[in-house]
Symmetry: C2
């Protein structure tokens, strides 16, 4: 019932993560009703982000040059590296304003079920970086889920004889959260991680 170009728009939108057939249809109709300028701005933003996106050759975060803005920032603490799974994790950590060191983006987490072993993520590149003697601590900031924990454990084992301080970001109750709403695993972790006040 749709014209070919609308059908292909709905089809392409439906391939995006989290966009089902209904959302795809809704977005397509929204675009068809929007100002041509706005629609072109979206299409151009997609192309231009794709054209400009490259990865930092040091930390593998997104970058618009061979070195990202964090790696090239000389005010940051170059003795500590925070290992994360994805560029969005860098954004989340930067938002906290707690951390002033460098990052290493693995671009994934170990997941044997999906066939993702250490060679599929930036593990080798991390080990190469750590050979540099200015680095003294590695914080394992992979997600507190099965894949993230497995990745952290794998890296901890790889790093155990390097003499580096290897730490794992704490799990516990979210600030502003409610004990009542926390799941039992989180409460368990929060208890294990209790600290003297």
């Amino acid at each position: 019932m749709y014209t070919p170009s609308i059908r292909s728009l709905i089809e392409e939108l439906g391939k995006l993560p989290g966009i089902g057939p209904r959302s795809a249809q809704r977005i397509a109709f929204y675009l068809l009703r929007s100002e041509t300028n706005d629609v072109y701005r979206l299409a151009d933003a997609i192309k231009s982000a794709k054209d400009n996106a490259m990865f930092c050759e040091t930390c593998f975060n997104f970058s618009e040059g061979v070195m990202c803005s964090i790696c090239s920032d000389q005010t940051r603490d170059r003795s500590i590296i925070c290992v994360v799974e994805e560029p969005k994790d860098v954004v989340a950590l930067e938002r906290s304003r707690e951390y002033k060191g460098l990052y290493h983006v693995l671009q994934g987490a170990l997941s044997p079920i999906d066939g993702i072993g250490p060679d599929k993520i930036k593990v080798r590149e991390l080990l190469v970086r750590l050979a540099d003697k200015t680095i003294t601590e590695v914080i394992l900031c992979t997600n507190p889920n099965i894949e993230g924990e497995a990745t952290a454990m794998y890296l901890a084992r790889q790093l155990q004889d390097t003499g580096l301080t290897v730490t794992r970001i704490a799990s516990g109750l979210p600030v502003g959260g409610d004990l009542d709403y926390a799941d039992e695993l989180t409460i368990g972790r929060a208890l294990q991680g209790r600290r003297q006040v």
Copy 2:
């Protein structure tokens, strides 16, 4: 923390309906990781749908010419018009294969709160079409929600002296649904609309 082009991509994606900041980020990262060809295919589908989309000058459904495929189909019953809010409603009705008449897409519903009066939707155009004596019945198929009901009531009043048969699509329990899960308004409507078997 993002590069300018990634920031602007996330911003543009976040303007789409149903896409919050988190989904926008997720989709942006998905696109940055996808094949360039696939990303360009999406951007081009957006532009081309927008470039090709026009509205049928008769029924105001999407069309790739001045007259849509339904209005120009001579096998359809030209004595009956089904009035809907949006092009997607035409698609839904066509899927049912129950209806063989023509459509009229209002391109919206009355909503005084949002400042949408009869002049903002294709009401005048409907009245012009109905002046044609081949039409004998109008089915009001606007959505069974507040705006849709108000629109149907408004149209019914406008059409009451035209001698046309004006009907409203039935409300009731969805087929395959469960009485237990139906809300009280739907059950009320289903009871009001009961028919002798």
